[in-house]
Amino acid sequence: MGLLKTFTAAATVLAIAGMASAEPVKVGMITTLSGGGAGLGIDVRDGFMLAVAQSGNSDIEVVIEDDQRKPEVAVQLADEMIQSEKVDVLTGIIWSNLAMAVVPAATAQNVFYLSPNAGPSALAGQGCHKNYFNVAWQNDNLHEAAGAYANSANYANSFIMAPNYPAGQDALTGYKRFYEGGLAGEVYTQLGQKDYASEIAQIRASGADSVYFFLPGGMGIAFMKQYAQSGVDIPLLGPAFSFDQGILQAVGEAALGVRNTSQWNKDLDNPANAAFVENFQAEYGRLPSLYASQGFDTANLLLSAMAAADVSDADAFRAALEAANFDSVRGDFAFGPNHHPIQNIYVREVIKEGDVFTNQIIATGLTNHSDAYAADCKM
């Protein structure tokens, strides 16, 4: 388990005169590579390493470790990376509870933390930190966009459902923040629950005109399959996490036509994204997911800052990160005052391309959207 994997980017180009960054940057990546949520961590890692390899930058060294989705393991790894490995930058954590355990301590020790996924509200508002940057989203964002989309789709009676844990409660709060209609029902399920017969019966009896659900990973697969079998045909709406490339194939036909919200999709029309989708497929033999795109953007943000400033000059490096001077696969990308993205969030629909289930963008849910907590952040 304690196997240490060190990836060193292949040195293809020798240091060219005039390149600002001569000083190597050591990156510690703590992510989930085993257990139930491993697919997400593997995608983030592969996206990140693709960007590093493509840059040909030999001044970046990445140390990758598996947190097994356990907060205590993540904390231990972070201590080891900061104290023994002397990393300059930490990244990689997928889950909000792990991020909450690691990030405040790491940023307090003057290490930069770039989040490729988790965006808990506590780190976006009063708990924000000058060394913490979130490259993905604040947790509520995709749910807010879904609420906004529900209004434009004239849904007036939603049944909403999420697991009973902090991110689940944030999800329903986020949806209700923008959604203007009434609620046919609000249900919290158990975290890790796999049988939704009881909830589906309640949906059937509720008279709702739409169902909004946040059930990441296997929970979503189980719900979608059971919902398709139940004969209930109320339209479904969810965040991208339940309709990601990694799990869509496991859901199959049951997901066709479902609307979901995401800040990225493979058909976003910009050159960086087209190249990313093509190169990721060539390198790994599968379509990139949302998480892979976030890993890729995180690495490119870091590389852009390295080109502009030395990591030893923390203030300059931080300013270079804040500038976010890189070509995001999402198109326009900027940081808000709390170091969380200001970005468009799109509405996608699940389609079938040949034999592969994937998403296509059908609308824009929210434009240049920030988050509800930025005002509480005093940096």
Binding site: G35, Q190, K194, A197, Q202, K225, Q229, S230, Q249
Partner: protein, 304 residues
């Protein structure tokens, strides 16, 4: 009213699935005195075998046969290679060794099939809803699961009470040394019982895999419920496992549905849902505690 009936059917369906898991667990404990934490891994093996074969051949039924064969084979191999050495050890050693097996199975499955969930859909003949008398729409596949589970319960009852193998199993439960002394090949019996329990778990994994998700680690949450069932029913009792499984299935399903409604009668909706769902997730453990207070060895367990 239709909502209540639908929920009762849901409880019954969850109950018979739990029975398939708990039957093997309780048999293995009753006959060999072994606590097998790796039982959930055999459930996972069944689901993965079914998904892999169903995807390769296009037939769900071949997948189900494969799940029985793969889980039984995995069970037999594990018994011959590892479990056999544990019978004379104390329960702590058994728990440690079978916990290690969970890790071996999980990482082995990941190594073979990757980290992403596999696809397994219900067979076309059982897909979609069916209208029951009284106008209740219910999933055809869930009805089929209920029927299959009840059939297996009857079959298991016949096997244990009416066949020679059943006689040996019951004899093994009451006195291991004596039936060995009578010339029964006890180690072969152990392998058969273990493989039988594994096949039931694998079958459950395949059936449930089609409506849930086939992924690494899918067995452990079910294993916890199966242990609750075994404890409620009385350790070693297949009849107890059946009654316990139905009780747990009903309590869990109805608790999730009724508790939030109940709290909603005197609380505002959002706190009612959170209090109700928190209590619902505890309901089966409360049930277990109540049963143990009334009958410390479970409903059908031998008095301690």
């Amino acid at each position: 009213m239709t909502l209540i009936i639908e929920q009762l059917l849901n409880g019954l369906q969850l109950g018979v699935m739990l029975f398939l898991m708990a039957a093997g667990l309780t048999l293995v404990f009753g006959v060999m005195g072994l606590i097998n934490l790796a039982h959930g891994s055999l459930y996972m093996v069944g689901a993965f075998a079914c998904a892999a074969v169903a995807t390769a051949t296009g037939s769900f039924w071949l997948g189900v046969i494969a799940s029985l064969a793969a889980a039984a084979a995995a069970g037999a191999i594990v018994e011959l290679v590892v479990i056999r050495r544990l019978y004379s050890r104390d329960h702590l050693d058994q728990v440690l060794a079978t916990f290690a097996l969970i890790l071996v199975f999980s990482e082995g499955t990941r190594w073979l099939f990757g980290s992403f969930p596999l696809f397994l859909d219900v067979p076309a003949a059982f897909s979609g809803p069916v209208t029951l008398p009284g106008g209740i729409e219910y999933s055809r596949y869930r009805l089929a699961i209920i029927a299959a589970g009840l059939l297996i319960a009857v079959g298991l009852y016949a096997l244990i009470t009416k066949t020679r193998l059943g006689i040996r199993i019951r004899a093994g439960e009451s006195d291991r040394e004596m039936i060995a002394a009578l010339g029964v090949d006890i180690s072969k019996l152990y392998t058969i019982v273990f493989a039988l329990g594994a096949a039931l778990a694998g079958f459950a994994g395949a059936l449930v895999g089609a409506i849930q998700s086939v992924q690494v680690g899918m067995g452990e949450p079910v294993l916890i419920l199966a242990f609750v069932v075994v404890v409620i029913g009385g350790i070693g009792s297949v009849k107890g496992a059946f009654v316990g499984a139905l009780l747990v299935g009903m309590t869990d399903t109805l608790g999730r549905f009724l508790l939030p409604v109940f709290f909603g009668t005197f609380m505002d909706p959002s706190s009612a849902t959170s209090v109700g769902s928190a209590l619902a997730s505890m309901s089966i453990y409360i049930l277990m505690a109540l049963v143990l207070v009334a009958k410390p060895s479970g409903l059908y367990g031998d008095a301690i």
